[in-house]
């Protein structure tokens, strides 16, 4: 059993501190938004988690290609870790968005393109785990998982364009404007620093969890091999 590397231990501690600092900045330092009030503070974590989850999903599609070319199970372990951590972060994004939407849009949920695409994307990656659960052979599980993650990764942006056929009310804070958006605001310098700090913090937290999850995958494989040895 190899023990946790020192770098990972340090990263664990740093991630925790960054999470606390990001929360402090979002709650105490960033000014209160004039129209929406305190609930707007959800925004910092909403974007932070969405950012890492989406990068994670794109990364996953790339890992599919790498696995299908190399057929090295190491890449499969990395892919599972990336999908699992991203799915959790994306679920947090959706829940935080709902909390914000209730006062801002007066509804928990609406079938807006971004929200619908988010829900479909989340369902694709949940289906990914259900697919993997049904397969015992590790090589086949890895191949099917990679193929499905690739197909899912390709379909998500097309889904987004398809839902554009209907109108959107989701605000676009970072770049561009949407005349029909509800709940748009412009950021003050303090808001901006809290925002970028949250992005940075969640990136580090993601890397930390991702690393831990890869190590867990390695341990799982070892246990599986040991079990096979015992039964033989």
């Amino acid at each position: 059993m190899n023990s946790k590397p020192l770098a990972l231990k340090i990263l664990d501690a740093v991630s925790l501190l960054l999470l606390l600092a990001a929360a402090y900045l979002a709650i105490f330092v960033a000014p209160t938004e004039k129209v929406m009030g305190d609930v707007q503070r959800v925004f910092y974590f909403h974007i932070g988690t969405a950012w890492v989850a989406l990068v994670g999903f794109v990364f996953t599609a790339g890992l599919s290609v790498i696995y299908l070319v190399t057929k090295d199970l190491k890449w499969d372990r990395i892919q599972v870790a990336a999908v699992e951590v991203s799915v959790v972060f994306f679920l947090i994004t959706i829940i935080l968005g709902s909390i914000w939407a209730r006062p801002a849009w007066n509804t928990w949920w609406t079938w807006d393109p971004r929200l619908t695409t988010a829900a479909i994307t989340e369902l694709i990656y949940i289906a990914y785990f259900m697919l993997r659960q049904g397969i015992d052979d590790p090589d086949r599980r890895a191949r099917f998982g990679a193929v499905y993650a690739l197909i899912g990764g390709l379909s998500a942006p097309i889904t987004f364009f398809a839902i554009r056929l209907f109108r959107t009310i989701h605000p676009v804070v970072i770049a561009g404007t949407n005349a029909e958006a509800e709940g748009t605001f412009s950021m003050t310098p303090e808001m901006r620093s809290a925002f970028f700090f949250a992005l940075f913090a969640f990136t580090i937290i993601f890397i930390d969890l991702f690393w831990n999850r890869i190590r867990l995958g390695e341990t799982q494989d070892k246990v599986e091999q040991l079990k096979l040895k015992v039964t033989m």
């Binding site: 697919l131 397969i135 015992d136 899912g152 889904t159």
Partner: protein, 239 residues
Amino acid sequence: MAKQSIQRAGISRQSSGNFFQAIRAIVWKDLRAEFRSYELLSAMLVFSLLVLLIFNFALELDVKTRQSVTAGVLWATFAFAGTLGLNRSMAIEKDRGCLDGLLLAPVDRSAIYFGKFISNLVFMLIVEAIVLPLYSVLYNTNLFQPGLILVILLGSIGYTSVGTLLAAMSVQTRTRDVLLPILLFPVAFAVLLAAVKASGGFLDGSDFSEISFPINLLIGYDIIFIATSFMVFDNIVEE
């Protein structure tokens, strides 16, 4: 040199001939087996009628509602019947080891994909060709418009292209038939959405500028997913 290149050209022509022959043989086998038993088509058809019946009462399809939901009802029916057909067509291959037999044949693996894809598409189109006039008669709506038929063709191509690939995957898992809709619906969501929008546009007689975007989306989806399935199919059937 010239002779060599002629030979090589001859070989490649022969192998591409083999490729299309293999596709044709698989399609022919599927159609022939089906037209002897009518297992798949009868199941898909009866199921589609039941879905229509359920929609009829669930949505109270009176004249006013019908106008806005016809496209949605049609595509939901096609999608449900489609999964039934895709599942069955792959399960037949898996059950008695037919898939292993196909894999042993000295043809390119992607020929198997295209063969299954085309026969699945034919089954889906046959079902649609029966459901459409039935719907027209039952609800006194004229569904025979060239635009709508084009949309149905494009939508069915997209749906079965990715459906054939995912069905080949799901039959090899423990959960089998339960899994296919769960894998397929989120991925095929875009194609269903664009198809509903385009069909609705044609039925309402909208301007072509409004319909051209979903149609382009359907064409793009078809091309992307046929190409991707063609490239990754080897990984699905590899032993």
